[in-house]
Symmetry: C2
């Protein structure tokens, strides 16, 4: 008897997703799991466009909650990042029902706002590739990694420094910065916090790392690891430190352990970081 | 008998200042107050260059403290913004001596980090033009306004909505955002908070306003006023809201009163906002 196929709900809560990319992800999933492909359920609101967003806030909240609260769906996979999660996070959280506690939530970048908020409320979340990553160079590998983790919990998909006993969390740097001191900030005491960034000036990395490491909650972390900082913008004047030197410096100043690099980033190599242990 | 000339200490704690601009400010001060010009004491470290900064952190901390702790100096005027205040704020605060409590501190933009930190410790600070503003179009007017406030406490220099009974504070938006949830965040309960921004995408204004208005301390404010958001960057897709609509929206969502516009910004019209009453 065939095992019941896993059902993965896909929802865009930030910028709009598009049907062509959704099709590519569907075809990839079918080719990776020919025997028993997961059923990918893309919420139709994900294809809406409202300025910057995949539909107005209310449509994105509805889409998130319809997937999250559906007891027939095993996982909620964020379709993509962009911008918009902070506009819906509080309302989305208020609407969660018991079935939302039975699934896992996967995404990164702007979706990190939802990961933070959900993790803070005890939900199972992970930082890892999203559907939209399929359009990157070698993007199939990123999306296959996400699927292998969602469907098989394949340990080969995990960020390699995870030791199975120290809790972890991962964020885009500015995304974490801009929830600090709000109700969306989760308790990361004793966690290894992995940070990555894209398309920023090094002086802004420096400013953001001051903010992150000056927060009393973050200072209780077990340490910080630095993922990739890619496509950095050119400073007018040479900043004089690399991103890793900046992070190491702020860790030292704030008494947080700097633990080395992390295999995460806005790229096809982005590995999975389940939050917690 | 001639009144003793006021002594104003000038120090760059962020990006480097330069001697030519300092001379222009000196000449302007002499022309505005021909009878009894204030003595402008520019700390020589302000002209250092260390990558992005007016010298290494230690040189900027020293410069700040030498001016702040000098009992013969009546006011500390930040030479300019840029970036770097957050790197020196905590150490600078630790080094303050009693004479630092006898003067007033004036600046804005990146210097807002120091204004916040100082105000949080009970020092007298104000948001207003800095020396470097003299290079703007009509920049003489900005610098003359700052001098008229420093020397004469001229009420005509003040932001016009100030009513003399409601405490106020003013910040660059992202500067405030990136001290939230840290020891540098001052108590702004019952304050009118004025915010301004420059060279940002509207979606980042939106994200930052979420952050600011989601902070429990900021939610205790009497309200928010919006200064000028100038030289905004072009979004890929039209954001669909103006900066004022964004601020009004987040105020509404978070239960903070939106009080209208404020006459502050990164421009020559930037008026003075003394913190507190």
């Amino acid at each position: 008897m065939a095992k019941k196929a896993m059902r993965i709900g896909i929802v865009a809560i930030s910028s709009p997703f598009n049907p062509k990319t959704a099709d590519r992800v569907q075809r990839l999933a079918a080719s990776i799991f020919p025997e028993n492909p997961p059923e990918l359920v893309v919420h139709p609101n994900s294809f809406l466009t409202h300025g910057h967003f995949a539909g107005p806030d209310s449509a994105r909240i509805d889409a998130f909650l319809e997937i999250a609260n559906d007891p027939e769906i095993d996982a909620l996979w964020f379709a993509r990042g962009g911008y918009g999660a902070c506009r819906v996070a509080e309302a989305a959280l208020r609407g969660l029902e018991p079935a939302a506690g039975e699934k896992v939530y996967l995404g990164y970048s702007d979706a990190g706002v939802m990961l933070a908020a959900l993790y803070g409320q005890g939900y199972r979340v992970a930082h890892g590739p999203m559907c939209q990553d399929i359009v990157r160079t070698d993007g199939d590998a990123a999306v296959a990694r996400a699927l292998n983790w969602l469907v098989n919990a394949d340990p080969g998909t995990l960020e390699p420094s995870l030791d199975g006993s120290t809790p972890a969390a991962a964020f885009n740097m500015i995304t974490l910065s801009q929830i600090l001191g709000t109700s969306l900030q989760p308790d990361l005491t004793a966690h290894v916090i992995m940070l990555e960034e894209i398309s920023e000036y090094l002086y802004k990395i420096d400013r953001t790392m001051h903010h992150v490491t000056a927060n009393p909650g973050i200072r209780k972390a077990a340490g910080i690891r630095l993922g990739r900082c890619s496509d950095m913008l050119e400073n007018d004047t040479d900043f004089g430190m690399t991103a890793e030197e900046i992070v190491r410096d702020w860790c030292e100043r704030s008494g947080i352990s700097y633990l080395g690099t992390a295999d995460i980033g806005h790229d096809a190599d982005n590995r999975i970081v389940p939050f917690g242990i």
